[in-house]
């Protein structure tokens, strides 16, 4: 069984000091979560394109805000672990779906989901699983937009120090995709 040390060494990362380096990474076939990712067993759709995972693993998702990455690796003696990424344009048929891909672990083998920072590693046992991301809503737009500047006499100085409505980027989706 992998420990945090051996698991994180697969992606060239040292164990953060807040984690116990020699703690075992349990291999589970039940739903489990790593930060903003959820792994749970599913019956996979029939038309998936499976790719065998190489020894260097694959980046499942990279968090731009934090710079951290979730990696998927085959476990000890697990050459048959396969990964099928979901096309971002076709995730569950929704605008920005949450499914990132599917993992298939043959009998007698295992896979590891490893985080580059605080979440350590999760062991995945035989079976077929979906990996989902996470979403959250945003605060609603206010009805009243900013604060009106006071009227002023011509030629006098009138500078409003209220924060204007500044929204540099159009957001068409009503919720955010969360990645830590």
């Amino acid at each position: 069984m992998h420990t945090y040390t051996s698991a994180l060494s697969l992606i060239g990362v040292a164990v953060p000091p807040h984690l116990q380096a020699d703690a075992d990474v349990p291999i589970l076939c039940t739903p489990q979560a790593q930060g903003d990712l959820l792994i749970f067993p599913v019956t996979p759709p029939p038309d998936l394109n499976w790719e065998e995972l190489s020894g260097s693993g694959i980046q499942v998702i990279h968090g731009e805000a934090t710079g951290n990455t979730h990696w998927l690796h085959p476990g000890f003696d697990s050459p048959g672990v396969c990964w099928s990424p979901v096309d971002p344009e076709n995730r569950l048929g929704r605008e920005r779906g949450l499914a990132l891909g599917h993992v298939r672990v043959p009998a007698g083998q295992s896979a590891l989901l490893i985080h580059t920072d605080e979440h350590g590693a999760n062991g995945i046992g035989p079976g077929t699983y979906a990996i989902h991301g996470k979403r959250q809503l945003r605060l609603a737009t206010a009805q009243q937009d900013g604060v009106r500047a006071p009227r002023h006499a011509p030629g006098s100085v009138a500078v409003s120090r209220a924060a204007p409505r500044v929204s540099l980027f159009e957001r068409t989706a009503s919720w955010d995709f969360v990645v830590d």
């Binding site: 959820l38 499914a99 605080e118 605060l139 206010a142 009138a158």
Partner: protein
């Protein structure tokens, strides 16, 4: 996400042409420079603006006002009409007494000539009828009518010819003064903006060397376009937002502020009128972050923009959102936050404060709580948002499955739809998985 803080001491020693192989990111950072302008920089900016006017066949007015912050820019825009009037009056005074008198007399002469023409026509009528018939009316009237009409046309035409020749002579003398009196203080509209943009973009690309004008590097052009597109929101945020909030006069519509087309491309904003140009100097300090290829103003440890005006104006920005000073400080009061009308400001301030701290200070109503599966004894808690946030969503407070680098189990909160009463159902919605699947969660890291 990368953050940069920039401060400068002038632009004269900057290279005028960058390496063509430089990435778009490097070009953007290179052009987010700031600092006090030297006289050489001002001269180059002045020449660049003059080139823009002449490129669009607009007469250059030589009337440039320099300001050092958007607040000063807003006050000058508000008093722009007064400035333009004063400048024109000075030009009229400098034109000389004779042309001024001539322009004033022009309208009097024009009216006088019309009156003279009418009197002349009447005099011709009277003279014809008296000479021909010895009285104002003839025996049959009809020849008198026709002759009178012909006489009227002839005299009117003669007067017009004389009048136009006279005015043409006067116009060549008083044209400058007359134009000065014809005040146009509208900001130059989209035609100017579009044409100067065409002028600005090739000239603004510092990677284009003068001898390679005919051989355009398409890749360099597209990178320059990308860089300009990334910088435009910064320019808009820096100058136009404060100017818009100052409510300039109704005759003036502030369309765009543009960075100046000089080879070094500093952070200079300017607003163009026909008879006035207002130029805002770069800030002393500028802090930004880059997220997903977009650049935005941001500083979590102080003002994001520091201006060089006498008042020492500073602007606070969090993730591209301008935050009032009283909401930026660490001990922000929840009452002040709730009074803020702008939802973007409320969002970034709450995120900076942290939802757990906000929940504690705002005293939110707890809707339900449940043990978080796979996370030991830690709980999920569901809260109502306060009515001051004008949002019916609910807030789900969670505890991280792993300790952070300080060894503490961090709390965080995220918004979920209002229809959830069960925290487990809410978190299952977040992951888009069946509720019964999430209840079986065996381990959370």
């Amino acid at each position: 996400m990368s953050s940069t803080g920039l401060s400068g001491t002038g632009l004269s020693n900057r290279p005028t042409v960058l390496d063509p192989s430089a990435s778009t990111d490097a070009w953007i950072v290179e052009n987010l420079d700031c600092g006090v302008l030297t006289e050489v920089d001002r001269g180059r900016i002045f020449d660049g603006i003059q080139r823009c006017y002449r490129a669009t066949d607009l007469p250059w007015h030589d009337h440039v006002v320099w300001v050092r912050s958007p607040q000063e820019l807003a006050s000058v825009v508000a008093s722009s009409r007064k400035l333009i009037h004063r400048w024109h009056r000075q030009r009229v005074r400098r034109a000389g007494r004779v042309p001024r008198l001539l322009t004033l007399g022009r309208w009097a002469a024009w009216i006088g000539l019309r009156v003279l023409a009418v009197l002349a026509a009447v005099a011709v009528l009277v003279a014809i009828s008296w000479f021909w018939f010895g009285s104002l009316t003839g025996p049959n009237h009809s020849p008198i009518g026709a002759l009178a009409y012909l006489g009227f046309i002839a005299s009117w035409s003669m007067v017009h010819v004389v009048g136009h020749v006279t005015l043409w002579a006067w116009r060549s003398t008083v044209d400058r003064v007359d134009a000065a009196r014809n005040l146009k203080y509208r900001i130059i509209q989209p035609r100017f903006v579009q044409e100067t943009r065409r002028l600005l973009m090739p000239a603004a690309d510092p990677r284009r060397r003068p001898e390679s004008d005919s051989g355009v590097d398409a890749e360099a052009d597209s990178q320059a376009d990308e860089a300009l597109a990334a910088l435009a929101p910064i320019w808009y945020t820096l100058w136009l937002a404060p100017v818009r909030s100052a409510r300039p006069p109704a005759e003036v519509s502030v369309r765009e502020a543009m960075a100046c087309a000089i080879p070094a491309r500093p952070m200079v904003g300017w607003i163009a009128y026909r008879s006035l140009t207002i130029v805002c100097e770069p800030p002393l300090e500028l802090h930004t972050e880059q997220v997903a290829g977009a650049i935005r103003l941001h500083n979590a440890a102080g003002p994001a923009v520091v201006w060089a005006d006498a008042a020492g104006s500073v602007d606070y920005y969090l993730h591209g959102v301008r935050v009032p000073e009283h909401l930026y400080r660490e001990d922000v009061r929840v009452d002040d936050l709730h009074r803020e009308q702008n939802s973007e400001v409320r969002r970034v301030v709450i995120e900076r404060l942290g939802w757990p701290k906000y929940i504690e200070q705002a005293g939110l109503r707890l809707v339900a709580s449940a043990v978080d599966p796979g996370n030991g004894e830690r709980e999920l808690k569901l809260y109502d948002l306060p009515k001051e946030l004008r949002d019916t969503k609910r807030l789900l407070l969670m505890v991280n499955g792993s300790p952070d680098h300080s060894g503490r189990q961090r709390q965080y909160a995220e918004l979920v739809p209002a229809g959830f009463d069960d925290p487990i159902a809410a978190v299952a919605w977040q992951y888009d998985c069946p509720v019964e699947v999430y209840r079986q969660l065996a381990r959370r890291t």
